[in-house]
């Protein structure tokens, strides 16, 4: 039994680690999509951020400067998205796709040209990485049954960005539902004409929304390359941006539900590693590929209207034209 608890704890522990980038990206997508801007560019922004963080951290030796660089790069990409689809009313899906493809090409191109390691950045060590933090009292409590194990293994011992990701969720909720900016943000995603009539700039609101998305994707990227791993590896975002998008939709564009969806998808990923080659009673071996595809399958089933109904913000994907 204690074996089972240990396995469960370590699976949950890795769930937290793999969900972190998903949570950050899902919150990023929430800001953007609630304002009416489709964001399939989460993947690209995260990848760009990951590269910037690892590259700058390896040069300066500081993880925090790397993090700022990641946020900077990701916000620039978000602004490019905004420039294309807010200012120039371009197709938001096309623009997001362009950003993903650009990020995938540019990170490898620049990485090979600057570091000559086949697209990787130099291995980071020392202050250039985010290390796990032991929360106060974790050691002292470790021997206390149940609570001690949960506190010292599950909650304590992650790096700063993990905690940041989990704090992001209530902050996002507070901004979107409790502030004036949040009210306007939701309004602009449902009915931009009404917001415009009230004398509030639709463009500026949407720009602020995509900037918020950029910041969060940048943090997610920095987590990938300087927290979870010790260098940038080509294509290291590996579809996580799309899973986050799926989680956002699965969570019906709401912070708490999106968090739960991210944790669910993260748990599936952690479970995939755990179940590799293990025979389950009744089921036998579950193919890893099925586990990997499960988040996407679940999202499609949800979208098909078989588990509740996911209703997107009403004005999503439609460029706002003031003259109308």
């Amino acid at each position: 039994m204690s074996d089972f608890i240990l396995i469960l704890l370590s699976t949950l522990d890795s769930t937290i680690r793999v969900s972190t980038p998903l949570i950050l990206c899902a919150m990023a997508g929430l800001f953007s999509e609630r304002s009416g801007i489709v964001d399939i560019g989460l993947e690209g922004k995260m990848l760009g951020g990951a590269f910037a963080a690892a590259a700058i951290a390896s040069i300066t030796g500081s993880a925090w400067i790397g993090l700022s660089a990641a946020i900077g790069v990701s916000v620039c990409m978000a602004l490019l998205h905004g420039f294309a689809c807010i200012t120039h009313k371009g197709n938001q899906v096309v623009s997001g796709l362009a950003i993903n493809i650009l990020a995938s090409g540019l990170t490898v191109t620049l990485g090979i040209a600057w570091f000559h390691q086949g697209g990787q950045t130099p291995l980071l060590s020392g202050d250039a990485r985010f290390y796990s933090i032991d929360l106060p009292g974790a050691l002292a409590l470790a021997d206390v049954p149940v609570i001690g194990a949960i506190y010292s293994q599950l909650i304590s011992g992650h790096n700063a960005l993990v905690y940041l990701a989990f704090i992001t969720v209530p902050i996002t909720w507070w901004i979107v539902y409790q502030t004036r900016f949040g009210l306007r943000l939701r309004a602009v995603g449902e009915n931009p004409q009404a917001v415009d009539t009230a004398g509030i700039s639709v463009f500026w609101l949407r720009y602020r929304a995509v900037i918020c998305a950029g910041i969060l994707c940048g943090i997610a990227g920095a987590y990938l390359s300087t927290g979870q791993n010790a260098s940038f590896v080509r294509e290291m975002s590996a579809g996580k941006g799309y899973i986050a998008l799926a989680a956002l939709i699965f969570g019906k564009w709401r912070p708490k539900a999106a968090l739960l969806a991210c944790l669910l998808f993260g748990f599936l990923e952690a479970l995939t590693v755990r179940l590799e080659g293990v025979d389950l009673p009744l089921l036998g071996q579950v193919p890893t590929q099925l586990m990997q595809a499960l988040p996407y399958i679940l999202t499609v089933v949800l979208l098909a209207g078989f588990i509740g109904k996911a209703v997107a913000p009403k004005a999503i994907g439609v460029p706002y034209i003031k003259e109308r």
Binding site: V93, L97, I99, L245, I297, V300, L303
Partner: protein, 371 residues
């Protein structure tokens, strides 16, 4: 007013060209940024793609793939649908082609097998597009999101099938057994040898003719049939289509199935033509390049052939470039692709007002000179 002031040739010819030029100029800056010479890169790309017969073979081979996926994306665009799932549809379509070939290659020569392979591939590709299409038309979920999801599902499914089911017994690599020599499509080298011309070996095969036939068929379908008219009408104005009695839901599903079937023809070129087996990731991004091709080619078959040729040349020339100068990786082609999608797709409207002004000034001058 914006459309009336510009003559069609400016709108269809000059503006896209300007957008592509912008994309290339920015790509040039990227090459400058990594400390290399853009002009030298252009030289390597052009000689790599067109300088010798093997290079031309590879260029046209890639072009074939891009024509299929470009047509697939464009036909969906005409109905106002954004099919990002070309990648997955081509992958699953290739599975259909491969399964048909694997089961019949002992009995049939390639020319008898080809129609079956096309039918199987198209059916598999169409089936993979059918689910997102059905969900869009009847359940209100957006085709963009579902096709993205289906790309990942296709990829997982294919890995599973290749590792566990289709793998050649005793082999370590996750790929199927090779097809019989007699069942694979003749390469262009064989074809030219038959009429006594000697060209270098390349994966280019007769699929390129199939691609050109598909171009003509798509053109006929879109502009000369009732179905094509309905497809374009939905794209222009879905409400008008509903009021004129078109069953938009049915047409949306049919359009997506045609789109998926066209993507699947990549499988004919790759599985039956070049690789002669099913293997992992044989689509290699052709589905996404198809989006760039369709945007650049303005969703017209002629434009798509030109854009495919450009991207085929970039892909082959880019490989050559990174071979000549290892400091420029061939991922620079991915950058160019992204920039073309950005400028030709997302930022198409950026240069339009400026171009309109300049054009009007020029024509006004002419008119006042005439007066």
């Amino acid at each position: 007013m914006s459309n009336k002031t510009l003559p069609a040739w400016v709108d269809v010819g000059v503006l896209p060209l300007l957008n592509v030029c912008l994309a290339f100029i920015v790509s040039g800056f990227v090459i400058l940024l990594i400390g290399e010479s853009p002009l030298e890169a252009v030289k390597y790309i052009i000689t790599g793609a067109f300088g010798y017969d093997e290079g031309i073979g590879y260029t046209l081979f890639y072009t074939t793939n891009f024509i299929f996926t470009g047509l697939a994306v464009s036909i969906a665009f005409h109905a106002g649908l954004f099919n990002i799932g070309g990648e997955g549809q081509a992958y699953i379509g290739g599975l259909g082609v491969g399964l048909m070939c694997l089961s019949l290659d002992n009995f049939l020569p390639w020319w008898a097998l080809l129609p079956f392979a096309i039918a199987a591939g198209a059916a598999f590709g169409a089936a993979w597009a059918f689910i997102p299409a059905y969900l869009q038309a009847y359940r209100g979920s957006h085709v963009v999101i579902t096709t993205i999801m289906f790309n990942f599902i296709a990829s997982a499914l294919m890995v599973y099938l290749l590792v566990n089911v289709l793998i050649e017994p005793g082999s370590m690599a996750p790929q199927s057994r090779s097809l019989m020599e007699s069942a694979t499509l003749p390469s262009m080298q064989d074809l030219f040898a038959a009429v006594g011309i000697d060209i270098a070996n390349s994966p280019l095969n007769v699929s390129i003719f199939l691609a050109l036939i598909c171009c003509v068929l798509v053109w006929l379908l879109l502009w000369h049939t009732r179905l094509g008219y309905s497809i374009r009408m939905i794209g222009f104005n879905e409400n008008a289509a509903v009021y004129s009695g078109i069953n938009t839901r049915r047409i949306i599903v049919i359009t997506m199935c045609i789109s998926g079937g066209l993507s699947a023809m990549v499988g004919i070129n790759e599985v039956m033509g070049a690789q002669e087996r099913i293997l992992l990731d044989f689509v290699a991004g052709a589905g996404f390049t198809g989006i760039a091709v369709a945007l650049m080619g303005r969703n017209h078959p002629i434009g798509i052939v030109i854009a495919s040729l450009l991207f085929g040349a970039l892909k082959q020339g880019g490989a050559e470039l990174s071979f000549e100068n290892p400091d420029i990786p061939n991922n620079i082609v991915v950058v160019i692709e992204g920039l073309v999608i950005l400028f030709c797709g997302a930022l198409t409207l950026m240069i339009k007002p400026g171009a309109e002004k300049i054009f009007l000034k020029l024509t006004n001058k002419k008119e006042s000179a005439n007066v």
